[in-house]
């Protein structure tokens, strides 16, 4: 009996061989991810000034796209409210720095952001999913969430600075023996780079874990997953809470990096920009969402200077095309190209 390949008596999937494991590691998706992160790592070696200042913000947008990718690409729930969590995290850090102060305030602020994001998402998620609110209705509720966040950020000016926004300083994070100051652009770059990498790995781990597989089964057929005994509402709630928490921490880092938070950060338009990034990048792969978030932000930055109106128009058209006719998105199409060519030949 072949000990390395084959179906085990209990019907479990075969344990992959070493070569198989290597091939899985070298999948196109992972190669692209490695290339992306290596490139991002070396950016400050070749570029100085504005790119190093602005790329961390785009990486955080990429993380925001990852949180939507978990919900949409894997869980089948489209949220028009991810920016709300991002803004809540940003304000949480800003308010903590302003009203608490002291050397531990940055950690407190990040912790508060995480806590608020997770708890708020968990409460909203459980409230809705336990009553089987899904698809379009879930979109409408999350749309209301970002509307409410923007309106409250505008009106509660004692807390948030209102319409004028709020300035947030670059923080210094005490790591026990060493203090890491984000004051320099380079330090901020690598701290946020590390955060982005960690988030990407976290989401890939979720995808690989049993939890991620159940999530996909819920996307494919929620009723069947429930019939198989999975508490689908709980799974969706956990996914929403994880994505809300990560989005909030990303928002907090954005606040300290960009130095400024305004109510539009939590608004409907920014929320739906995230949907646009993920749709165009490719919602079935985390790397697609990440590249969508970072890439479209870079393109927006460069093209907004030259053809501001036409670029946004083009983005809208691309979104329609991606949702209607081109569901894999750009990265998804590239990743699935070899397989499709193979199957055509065969």
């Amino acid at each position: 009996m072949d000990t390395e390949v084959g179906t085990r008596p209990d019907g479990q999937e075969a344990r992959p061989t070493r070569a198989g494991r290597l091939r899985a590691l070298l999948s196109a998706e992972n190669v692209i991810a490695v290339v992306l992160f290596v490139a991002l790592f070396y950016v400050p070696y070749f570029l100085v000034g504005f790119p190093v200042y602005v790329l961390p913000q785009y990486m955080l947008f990429g993380v925001l796209a990852l949180t939507l990718c978990l919900l949409w690409g894997f869980g089948g729930m489209v949220s028009f409210g991810q920016a709300a969590f991002f803004a809540i995290g940003a304000y949480a850090l800003g308010v903590t720095l302003r009203d608490v102060g002291g050397p531990t305030a940055p950690w407190l602020g990040l912790l508060l952001a995480l806590g608020l994001g997770v708890v708020l998402a968990a409460v909203i998620g459980w409230f809705l999913f336990s009553a089987d609110v899904r698809d379009s209705y879930f979109v409408l509720v999350t749309l209301a969430l970002s509307t409410i966040t923007q309106v409250l950020a505008n009106s509660e000016s004692q807390l948030t600075g209102g319409f004028n926004g709020m300035f947030v300083e670059r923080v210094t994070l005490p790591f026990g023996v060493v203090d890491v100051s984000l004051a320099g652009d380079l330090a901020a770059y690598y701290v946020i780079f590390a955060f982005t990498l960690l988030c990407y790995l976290l989401f890939r781990y979720i995808q690989w874990s049993a939890f991620g597989r159940v999530l996909v089964s819920i996307r494919e057929n929620e009723d069947r997953s429930r019939a198989l005994g999975y508490n689908t509402a709980l799974y969706k709630t956990v996914a929403f809470a994880v994505s809300g928490g990560v989005a909030a921490v990303a928002g907090a880092l954005y606040a300290t990096d960009a130095g400024f938070v305004s109510p539009t950060l939590g608004g409907v338009l920014f929320s739906t920009s995230v949907v646009v990034w993920v749709a165009i990048g490719g919602r079935h792969y985390f790397i697609g969402a990440l590249i969508g978030g970072i890439g479209i932000s870079i393109l927006s930055q460069t093209l907004n200077a030259r053809i501001p109106e036409y670029w946004q128009l083009l983005l809208g058209l691309l979104f329609v095309v991606a949702v209607g006719f081109f569901r894999r998105g750009i990265v998804g199409t590239i990743l699935e190209l070899p397989g499709r060519m193979r199957s055509r030949r065969g």
């Binding site: 009553a131 609110v133 979109v139 409408l140 209301a144 509307t147 739906t272 809208g316």
Partner: protein
């Protein structure tokens, strides 16, 4: 007593204005099951078309008609080019119509720019109703809204066309089999919904400032009005939903800031949605 009457008037007019804005959405949602996120952009487009007409010296009522027709045509083109391919996938239509929102909003910015604009009130002055004052224009808008709701109800429940449309809601396949020309019906319904959005946008233009994103908040409010009111109960549902969303905002605003009232009402609407997803007048 005057105070009670004035609040009551406020509730009634807010309800009717919101019902006017929501009607196009309700028609499209209720009849062809498309959640038209583009509704918000259609409202803005209607307002801008009316603004341009008025600034060219065209009288306001004619400008409103032009806006209605123009937005109706835009809706028709969108239906023919894109939406008709996706009726079977309600969720995709939602996202695609959001893409439509983005595209139209950008086109508005291209053509008209991003500055705030305003239209002069076509009917200045106030009307006294039993001691409580009400703006002339608001009163007229409310009457138009009531007339439109009545007309929609008459079309749906008293005409041949209405029978066909209702048959389509009740049992699409059976209606198709009995010879209802569904593609044409869907197209007309979508265009009528767009035209109603253009009409509403033009009519509310003198009451609010005109800006490219003016439709967003209205979009959320009218969604909740339509859903809380009840899916499929087009006229009654829109009226009841608008009453709850618009009226409740007025009542809450008595005790707190306007924005806070809006927030509370949205939260209540979400709660209502959770416990009664089909809406108050809706049936499964």
């Amino acid at each position: 007593m005057d105070r009670v009457l004035s609040v009551l008037l406020d509730v009634v007019t807010s309800t009717l204005v919101l019902a006017l804005v929501s009607l196009g959405l309700a028609v499209v949602f209720g009849l062809v099951r498309v959640i038209n996120m583009g509704h918000g952009a259609m409202l803005a487009l209607g307002a801008y078309v009316a603004w341009t007409c008025v600034n060219r010296g065209i009288p306001f009522p004619v400008a409103v008609l032009v806006a209605t027709v123009a937005v109706g045509i835009v809706g028709l083109v969108f239906e023919v080019l894109v939406i008709r391919h996706f009726y079977e996938q309600p969720f995709e239509t939602l996202l695609i119509s959001w893409g439509f929102y983005l595209v139209v909003t950008e086109l508005i910015k291209l053509v008209w720019g991003t500055d705030l604009r305003s239209l002069p009130n076509p009917l200045p002055g106030t009307l006294s109703v039993g001691g409580a004052g009400i703006g002339n224009y608001v009163a007229v808008i409310s009457l138009i809204s009531a007339a439109l709701l009545t007309a929609t109800a008459l079309v749906l429940y008293r005409t041949d066309l209405g029978v066909k449309v209702r048959a389509m809601i009740q049992n699409r396949d059976m209606a198709l089999m009995l010879g209802v020309n569904a593609p044409r019906m869907y197209r007309s319904v979508f265009a009528v919904g767009a035209a109603l959005a253009g009409l509403a946008g033009a009519l509310i233009a003198p009451m609010f400032s005109i800006e490219p994103d003016m439709g967003t908040l209205w979009l959320v409010r009218s969604f909740f009005a339509v859903i809380v009111g009840g899916l499929g109960a087009i006229v009654g549902g829109t009226l009841v939903g608008s009453g709850l969303i618009g009226g409740a905002t007025v009542v809450f605003a008595l005790f707190s800031k306007q924005v806070f009232a809006q927030t509370v009402v949205f939260a209540l609407a979400v709660i209502a949605l959770r416990f009664r997803p089909v809406g108050i007048l809706g049936r499964r």
